[in-house]
Symmetry: C2
Subunit: 718 residues, 2 copies
């Protein structure tokens, strides 16, 4: 490949190299490369004054004989110690990494290993390999020398640009992007390895030690929340064992650590809706195409994402069958059948199920996945008043799920006409906020469908009022849904650079007890004391776990449980036993408290309650501070760019909303997965009392100058 | 159509008419028809000595203007009063039935209405109409005169044969069969209408009365359990509000009345497996074709039933994606990734989800459906002993679900090699029994997969034993599942001709309180007393409902709740209030007991317990009586034909099992949905102590004469 081709490829990705140079052929030896670069005329503007070399290593993981190998290509700063292949193994799931043979490299990449670099990769090759990029390079503004896919030319690029180039190669058609392109923090891995030396035992078995080190590598979140939010997010989910990637793109495995949270939400919400007279049911996941297409507005919103079953076994189906993206059209033909008289009202059904929306945008666990779990409630009433009341009752439950269970602040409000549910009358929402990106997020919605669907599906009864005998009354309907997205929002709001931070009410383990400072003589008594405290706490209704694994050191366990977000760590050592005490360490703020063992049954539940409340209060303060009242247009974009949500008096005209979206686009691109699109209306808060009253005819919409109606939140959003 | 064509059509369905006759053209007037038939020479062997006339009516239901009408064709004995069209409306879901115009009949059936009859229908027409057959005809051995799809010829057939002919027209391609072909008990409908006259009120509103009568029609189960079991079964499910049919064939709607039972099972079982250390998770419903096909034996078992998604929105997928028929191949690649060391054992995950098996056999709610709900547990252990132990622990829980929750007796045992799970090592089962058909039914299975999948997916660790350093150990795996089939088995075992009979432990309403014998002056005090008792019972932990609807009479309510299977009805009237008493009526055996109101909080829970136990005991006695010990081959088929299950000493040779199946086929055809196929081995019971010890080398297999190994249950089965 010539230097020109490489530069053209970079240009097409809008990456501007800091320089480039042709030189004599070089070997893989860094000093040879350095010499070649230094041999260039010092006046050459094409060689930056400062740069570091890069290195490119290819590994062949162990694979079944029959399977084609998936090489792992590691791109790192020449300075980085890249020996931690065990940890890479763990992160990528590729076993027994061995340096690939020259032949394999040649065969696979079509070039000699002396020419190989990040620039040897292209969109066609990328899905076939696993790429691991050194964190110290990927996040760096420093300039690096990269072989221009040739051993006779070098390109100079910032570390971020190298990573950016690789990112740009990813296409939707490739497998899960994060699967093929990893970043890896070697510094952290080395540190973790160093800090986790085993308990000193003269003839300690080396195998145990190895396992410990290997596992320890897994602990690092790798990237900082504030630096690379989307990588941080997926790393937290992977490392806390909430999810794993899955071989079908856009689908994820919910592991017990996250599924338990969903079950907590389910139990709470299920009880509440049963109190409201809602009953659970299960409707099939399939819909015939004809039925699906009955309600035009509605289906228009979903059609591009519908997955179709066209074949069963080896038989083509006569008519393709859709998988539900939501169940309005699945359920309402039966509502029409079941509701024959006014006495059949209200009909209130809910189902806990999964729905499929085959999105082609970049997936993100919990937030945008092709299959997701949710509940969908579908109710029908005789009068609008009853439907209206229920919409708000349910929204209030959604608010409580967020504020009381997940400790996540949300603002209840109504959606603009543009943003409401397709085919419905109006949509109410609880809107959340992700401080790190400054974006709003729709947390859950409760829709009043009005009579649109009931007229379409003929859900009607005879007027029970004798005076109107024979008149037909159409049902007033609602639908409302809460999905596993809630878990993602919770992680984004509370997580930190140590990993997950779980609110106590939904944590499957609320307290972990870690024995500390033990030796062979004290071990038994300390373990006993830990078990005793665990028993006491369990009796007090606390979800507790004593981590008595003797293959791990306390420091390792601290990291492990911090990463998993357990709200309280209780440390118990020989001295604590003497003093009948234990040390409680809060995950949310790191504060340590010494407790009397006699009081744990009262103090720990109280502390959990405090943590729950303080987590909410802190998040609420942040949201409040970042919800900025704006009355002049010139303040809108700077406020958004400042990672805030705008609340402003608004005219509620759809054209104005379109205009705001267009005018508020930013050139800043902070998060590849939530591009800096323009702001849209998030919600018109129900509680308008926080802001100055809007004076009809006087208060103007800052966007268009027309009369404002209500204070409305605008923000960039997920 | 000529008489010859009609007779040929009948012959091809293997129906032999009792006679046939050509005659002068007739009108729809029955007396004209009778005359024409009597005009035949009395010597004509082709006219039976006794016969009844039939009538054929066509109705046009109300449909949206745009939709093509679906005519309802009613085939009845001429004698039957067929005025109960409201009730037919209810059963078929077709609204506002009006007699169809002559033009519509001509257009639709291609014949004049004077020629129309059951014999005008053919396989092509059938799916386009809804057919309702008079029960008095469908179940009768009497001979009826049927117009031979012509007004110039008549065929004589038994009522059963007429129904048989219509059944034979059903094809798999048509919609849900039970949807297009109904039977209807006009006698019962008339009776129900007569018995449900409204509370005498001088100027009673006629609308209320109508509604009552209309609803009352719905109450009849229509057919007897012992006469037409499969119709009885679906009618019970429909009329108790457990399910409804759905527009995608083979899928059913689980309404709250059945879904609640599933939730009861879920809660109980979920708690139990959590005690065993099993954790819940959720894996995607999609599998890539490549992964699915990895385990050959396994996929061979499922491939013909796999549903494939090939399109999303308007894009064809690059590779078709399967919907899970079960999750072994979904989960195990990740087990391989997650299990890296012996310390990662045991891995015990469960999921509550739905799976899809696109069967082409006749569907039956709960028993054979294209999508069904279940739980699937997947566990991995280091040793076979641990796996073996868990297989049995789980099977024991399944046994308890059936015996303790559903009051259904089952026999725990092991499956023969032929009947075990595809790709597994061995399968354990709890086998149930449906007395009405004499068939066995696999109630739930717990499989030991051995190391087959772990070798396929490389779920392995290094041997922790230092002496074997470097050796690779493959996981020992289990998988186990319990589905909503359990609900179907419960209905089949306990239901009676009044409808459902629910075991108290899973009934969402355990006690219904019905106010009785009230008039305007006593109504308030009786309603108050009912509410008071309901409150008391609720406090005592009883799931109770006071049915205080004043639009229905007590008799109607009795029927209504009996049909829904509520275990206890409490009747409270003015006299009962005076005596501080209530009358408890058991659903399972009709026994009435008078209780002191002061004691309901203790006596009702005790009575529920008694009902639960007695329901189990009765069902157990039946199963025991019908599980017949057989040691001679000549007794096998008569025992099976006698609706019993055989238990015999068996050689456990697969060829012998094939042979038994072949030799035990019966010509009797009792249930179209479970054809009288040959017997297969149901289970080798774990408890062999009930039967004479097998003497090695002496006890012989009655089927082949080889040495018997263990007592084995053989039966026809679902």
């Amino acid at each position: 490949m010539t230097l020109e081709t490489t530069l053209a490829a970079l240009a097409s990705c809008k990456i501007e190299p800091k320089g480039s140079l042709s030189h004599e052929p070089i070997t893989t030896d860094p000093s040879a490369w350095k010499s070649a670069l230094q041999a260039a005329p010092s006046s050459a503007a094409s060689v930056p004054s400062e740069y570091k070399l890069t290195k490119t290593l290819v590994f062949k993981p162990k694979t079944a004989k029959s399977a084609a190998p998936t090489p792992l290509i590691l791109i790192a700063s020449e300075e980085t110690d890249t020996k931690a292949t065990n940890a890479i193994s763990k992160q990528t799931g590729l076993k027994e990494l061995r340096i690939a043979s020259d032949d394999l490299i040649k065969e696979f990449f079509g070039v000699d290993k002396t020419s190989l670099s990040a620039l040897s990769l292209n969109a066609e090759l990328l899905p076939k390999v696993v790429v691991v990029v050194d964190d110290a390079l990927a996040t760096s503004d420093n300039v690096f020398a990269v072989r221009a896919a040739s051993n006779e030319a070098t390109v100079f690029m910032t570390g971020k640009d190298i990573y950016g180039y690789l990112s740009s190669l990813q296409t939707d058609a490739s497998n899960d992007q994060a699967k093929v392109l990893h970043t890896f923090d070697f510094a952290n891995a080395a540190e973790a390895a160093a800090s986790s030396t085993p308990i000193a035992k003269a003839a300690a078995p080396t195998k145990k030690t190895e396992a410990r080190i290997e596992d320890a590598h897994q602990l690092a979140i790798g990237v900082k929340k504030e630096v690379d939010f989307s990588t941080w997010y997926t790393n937290v989910l992977l490392k806390s064992d909430m999810i794993d990637y899955y071989s079908v793109s856009g689908c994820y495995i919910l592991k017990p650590w996250s599924y338990t949270i969903w079950q907590e939400i389910q139990h709470w919400f299920d009880d509440k809706i049963k109190e409201l007279g809602v009953e659970n049911s299960y409707f099939p996941m399939f819909i015939s195409g004809k039925v699906l297409e009955k309600e035009k507005d509605h289906i228009e919103g979903f059609a591009p994402e519908v997955a179709w079953v066209t074949r069963a076994g080896s038989s083509e189906l006569e008519e393709p069958i859709a998988i539900r993206p939501t169940s309005e059209t699945v359920m309402y033909p039966y509502y029409a059948k079941w509701i024959q008289s006014h006495r059949d009202f209200p009909l209130k059904l809910n189902q806990w199920n999964s729905v499929v929306r085959w999105e082609f945008k970049t997936p993100q666990p919990f937030l945008r996945t092709r299959e997701f779990l949710w509940q969908e409630g579908h109710t029908a009433f005789l009068t609008k008043a009853e439907a209206d009341a229920e919409v708000r009752e349910i929204l209030e439950l959604y608010r409580q799920v967020y504020t009381d269970l997940l400790a996540v602040p949300v603002v209840p409000g109504i959606k603009s006409e543009k943003e409401k549910f397709a085919g419905g009358l109006y949509t109410t929402t609880v809107e959340g906020f992700i401080p790190t990106t400054g974006r709003g997020i729709q947390a859950a919605t409760s829709h009043c469908l009005g009579q649109n669907f009931s007229k379409m599906f003929d859900i009607s009864v005879e007027d029970p009022n004798a005076a109107n005998k024979g008149d037909k009354l159409f049902a007033w309907q609602n639908s409302w849904g809460l999905s596993t997205r809630a878990i993602g929002v919770m992680v984004m709001v509370h997580g930190d650079n140590q990993g997950l931070v779980l609110p106590p009410r939904v944590a499957s383990v609320q307290v972990v007890i870690v024995p500390c400072g033990i030796n062979e003589t004290t071990q038994e008594s300390v373990y006993d004391a830990c078990s005793e405290v665990a028993k006491t706490l369990k009796k007090a209704g606390v979800r507790v776990k004593a981590d008595l694994r003797d293959t791990y050191l306390p420091g390792w366990k601290f990291n492990y449980w911090e990463q998993k977000g357990v709200p309280i760590r209780l440390e118990i050592g020989p001295k604590d036993i003497q003093k009948k005490q234990a040390v409680a360490v809060r995950r949310d703020n790191g504060v340590k408290t010494t407790l009397s063992v006699d009081d744990v049954a009262t103090q720990i539940p109280a502390l959990l309650e405090t943590i729950q409340n303080e987590m909410y209060t802190r998040a609420k303060e942040t949201f409040d501070q970042r919800l900025i009242q704006v009355t002049k247009w010139e303040d809108v974009v700077p406020t958004l760019d400042n990672k805030c949500v705008v609340v402003m008096p608004w005219c509620e005209v759809e054209a104005c909303e379109d205009d705001i979206k267009e005018r508020s686009k930013s050139t800043e691109q902070t998060d590849e997965r939530a591009p800096s699109a323009g702001a849209k209306s998030l919600a018109i808060p129900f509680d308008q009392s926080k802001w100055e009253p809007i004076v009809p005819g006087k208060t103007k919409c800052p966007a268009c100058g027309m009369d404002a109606k209500r204070w409305t939140m605008f923000g960039r959003s997920y």
